[in-house]
């Protein structure tokens, strides 16, 4: 399973990637594999604020409903709207086309507390 080195990871299986001053957020390959086929996703709107560790949306697979937890606090500046009609993108390409939201972080240093790829890989292997 692939966990790109350029990303930071949460224990709830979200990833975060710096893009300039902003942070792109999605769920990991492990998360989408555990969920199974994703059939529905509920995301915040542009302008909403998200809070680190709190739910910012929901992803539903054919099997289960799972909350999405924000890896960082901030304001939502972009939402991957095409996911509404093509939620399977999250299974097919969780790190690129399957991104969920872009956040303008309140405190970019919050990212430092997240796991890097090797720590996340070790975490997943314990699951």
């Amino acid at each position: 399973m692939e966990f790109p080195d350029s990303l930071k990871y949460t224990r709830e299986h979200e990833w975060a990637r710096m893009k300039g001053s902003q942070v792109v957020i999605g769920i990991t390959a492990f998360a989408q594999d555990q969920l199974g086929d994703v059939v529905f996703v509920e995301l915040p709107a542009v302008g909403d604020t998200v809070k680190k560790g709190e739910s910012f949306g929901v992803v539903e697979s054919t099997k289960a409903v799972s909350e999405l937890f924000a890896p960082i606090s901030g304001k939502v500046v972009e939402v991957n709207d095409p996911l509404a009609d093509a939620p399977e993108t999250i299974n097919e390409d969780p790190y690129e086309e399957g991104w969920m939201i872009v956040v303008e972080p309140a405190d970019p240093k919050e990212l430092d507390a997240l796991m890097d790829a090797s720590a996340y890989r070790a975490f997943v292997e314990e699951q």
Partner: protein, 360 residues
């Protein structure tokens, strides 16, 4: 400690994802629910349903005794035919929904739900009515071969002529050298078969079907696809859509309740309920707004809870959100509208006819 079917090792070796279901360790998916679902709708899928139980009624009183425990009418079918119906309590509440295979008037096999094996056996044996009632659940494995290409595949593996075995009929014959009860029944809405065989032969039969089914693109399937396939047909699932507290009339199974066939357990209560009218009714609905309804979500109207969703999913075939819910009879007619509360927010729903999906 959960139980395992004779095919447990086969599933694990094939990389299936296993889950606990009704006390059984079962495959929930092989390749992915959507892929498996589509295989069954367009080609052929293979399911391990060995967790289902089998209770057998034998002896000169067998037919009469079982008919007094069954809402449908077993005197209306011939040997070699199967019939769907409910076992009810005196209250009319559903003990289980079952399929009865009439091998002879003195030899009937009742196929019961996995989670109800012990309960059903105790209920049936406790009302044996002079029949010899045995729990043969551990003596049978069961494979379901389902989909439009099931018959052509199966026919290559058996000398038993499948053409006279029409829907809800069965015969006996060897499949790939394994003695089977071959029934044209299933829980998917597609043409297909359920094969009952001895547990020791189950993996041999499974492997033979998977190998022989390659030209048809056979797909091993898990419980996930089994659930989405049955729900598209509006088939009820015991434990989700019905239980001991709901009657077949409430569950929309009036078509398998034969009140005029003579005495059976639960009949008086059902007659009374029919006269007095139902307080709630199970209906099929689609969401007309975004979201997916799930088991246990409230049905609301004007901010008040008036019912409950018992099954719900996104239909892989129809690409809409479908479900079953108990609602007051006033809202049970086709076209009625209500809302399903999803994580605190109402999503609009409309009552539709079931099956949701019509076979192509």
């Amino acid at each position: 400690m959960s139980q395992r079917t004779p095919l447990f090792d086969v599933h694990v070796r094939a990389g299936a994802r296993m889950v606990e279901f009704a006390g059984w360790e079962m495959p929930v998916q092989y390749a992915g629910l959507l892929q498996e679902h589509e295989a069954v709708r367009t080609r052929v899928g293979l399911f391990d349903v060995s967790h289902m139980g089998e209770v057998v009624f034998r002896g000169p009183r067998a037919l009469e005794a079982l008919n007094r425990l069954f809402t449908n009418d077993l005197s209306k079918i011939a040997d070699g035919q199967a019939q769907y119906g409910c076992l009810c309590r005196e209250t009319g509440g559903i003990v289980d929904d079952v399929v009865v295979y009439r091998r002879a008037a003195d030899d009937l096999l009742v196929c019961v739900n996995a989670g109800n094996r012990q309960k059903d056996f105790e209920w049936l044996a406790g009302h044996a009515g002079g029949a010899d009632v045995r729990n043969e659940s551990d003596a049978w494995a069961q494979l379901a071969l389902q989909g439009p290409l099931a018959a052509q595949l199966l026919q290559r593996l058996t000398t038993l002529d499948l053409s006279p075995i029409r829907s809800y009929r069965f015969g006996h014959g060897d499949v790939a050298g394994v003695p089977c009860l071959v029934a044209r029944t299933g829980y998917t809405g597609e043409d297909g078969f359920e094969l009952f065989c001895g547990p020791e032969a189950a993996s041999r039969l499974w492997d033979a079907l998977v190998e022989a089914g390659k030209p048809e693109g056979i797909q091993p399937c898990g419980l996930g696809a089994r659930d989405s396939l049955r729900l598209e047909m509006g088939y009820r699932l015991y434990g989700s859509d019905m239980d001991d507290a709901r009657t077949p009339l409430e569950a929309g199974l009036g078509w398998v309740v034969k009140l005029d066939k003579g005495e059976f357990i639960g009949r008086d209560a059902l007659v009374r309920q029919k006269e007095q009218g139902l307080a709630r009714k199970l209906v099929g609905f689609v969401l007309t707004e975004a979201g997916i309804a799930r088991h246990g979500y409230p049905v609301v109207q004007d901010g008040r809870k008036i019912g409950e969703v018992t099954s719900g999913t996104r239909s892989p075939s129809l690409k809409t959100s479908i479900g079953l819910a108990y609602v007051p009879p006033a809202l049970a007619a086709e076209g009625s509208t209500f809302a399903v509360e999803i994580r605190g927010r109402p999503a609009a729903a409309k009552v539709v006819k079931t099956p949701f999906y019509t076979r192509k």
